[in-house]
Symmetry: C2
Subunit: 285 residues, 2 copies
Amino acid sequence: MKSDLWIEEKCDNIMGLKFKVEKTLFSGQSEFQSVDVVETKGHGKMLLNDGLVMLSERDEFVYHDMIAHLPLFVHPCPENVLIIGGGDGATARETFRHHDVKRCVMVEIDKMVVHACKEFIPSCSCELDNPKLDLIIGDGVKFAKETKEKFDVILIDSTDPIGPAQPLFGEEFYRDIHNCLNDNGIVVSQGESPWYQNKMQNKLMSIKSKLFDVVSVYNFSNLTYPGGLWSFTFASKGLHPIKDFKEEKVSKSGLKFKYYNESIHKAAFALPQFQKENVQEFVKG
Amino acid sequence: MKSDLWIEEKCDNIMGLKFKVEKTLFSGQSEFQSVDVVETKGHGKMLLNDGLVMLSERDEFVYHDMIAHLPLFVHPCPENVLIIGGGDGATARETFRHHDVKRCVMVEIDKMVVHACKEFIPSCSCELDNPKLDLIIGDGVKFAKETKEKFDVILIDSTDPIGPAQPLFGEEFYRDIHNCLNDNGIVVSQGESPWYQNKMQNKLMSIKSKLFDVVSVYNFSNLTYPGGLWSFTFASKGLHPIKDFKEEKVSKSGLKFKYYNESIHKAAFALPQFQKENVQEFVKG
């Protein structure tokens, strides 16, 4: 008899998400977190950190389209991009599809994530050897404080605010991010769930609204995050995610996406009423 | 030790959703399906038919806002509304918030659903004794074939196409629905998941596109349906869900919602690229 294997993620001990597993491809414990790669039935390969689903091959394009293409199409010429986190490589993969991008620095704290994804999830990690990528294994918080470089677009591709990602949800970190953004720079951050983590979403929005001229939040819905609906927070020194979005740039780019398109770009900022009321005091610009 | 109770719904045996249960309030077997009402931890009361989550008190407003208010704000004067299914009462509850509505006929096949929700989920069933409601316990397919009445808006608030709801996903039923719609009528139907049931979504869209002048699909994201992202299909004899939507009607109505608003109305029709490509041959108008 073949065993019936499932991986299961619980949220606040009130709900859980389960996925059927064919086999475990990698299982390790780094100095920061546990790292697992499994082959699922129906969702392709799946990466888990500390038992939480980070991505599945079936739907990772939703998250990665929305973290990368939305700000990269708002910025008129995103030449220098910084990714904090993103060890699986898929945010870098999408970033390099934009021909404006001349250089991308990626600072991932956990080399085990990078190695596991390089070996077992090449569909995500395929651009990690791109010569335009400067991959630094190190602490993104420290990097943001110490770097002298300036970036056009910064993508905070972090896990939830537990474990190594905790400082990425703090005000000091965002002061440093503000400092290493060019004058028309944009920062987009994994923004948690408007349903289950609305306090953390508000905290992130409130930090950004203290520091940036334009602050907003936009949504997507994927298969593997509890609640389905999930958010990115957007902040910039002036560029507005809709007013400064030139729709024709998307078709002119010739790029094809599985989730993102011009309509989704704008629709993502239409918030459910309950979320709109939660965040409205922090929205700026 | 208090027992650790969960209800669990599996989808295609590749993923599952679990919710923590405090206690079972009702458990019955009707001639059509099993019917359960449970008190959950964190999601309020929950209705399950044949073990599938129909609604939770925490997020049912998403589904019911979107099935009812979207077409009711597109139609210039929806006086007569027909609901097929909807035994929990929440679609009728939202329908009666529109003062244009003079009469609503609701045809629910399973009286056990109605009775269980009347007794245990009054937050949903609270309008089932509204004098403007004609509640018929019977077969919606038969009703649509035989009625001589005409309706302005018809809402197909059905379960998945297994068990009693199966004929509600067929062409013959929609021919009858077309017949009992007024000349500027609209029909909105529970449209399944663009991820896990895209074939059924396409089937429903293809049937509607044979019969109606305007056909479209729109999305919402809730907590209790597998995959989060879910759809309604829209069809009408002429009214367009966006071009004929007078935004000011919403603020003039004085109604307040938890999910629906003017921006969500329009944004719901912005489809993820993969879904857009799946359904585009059936979109009309």
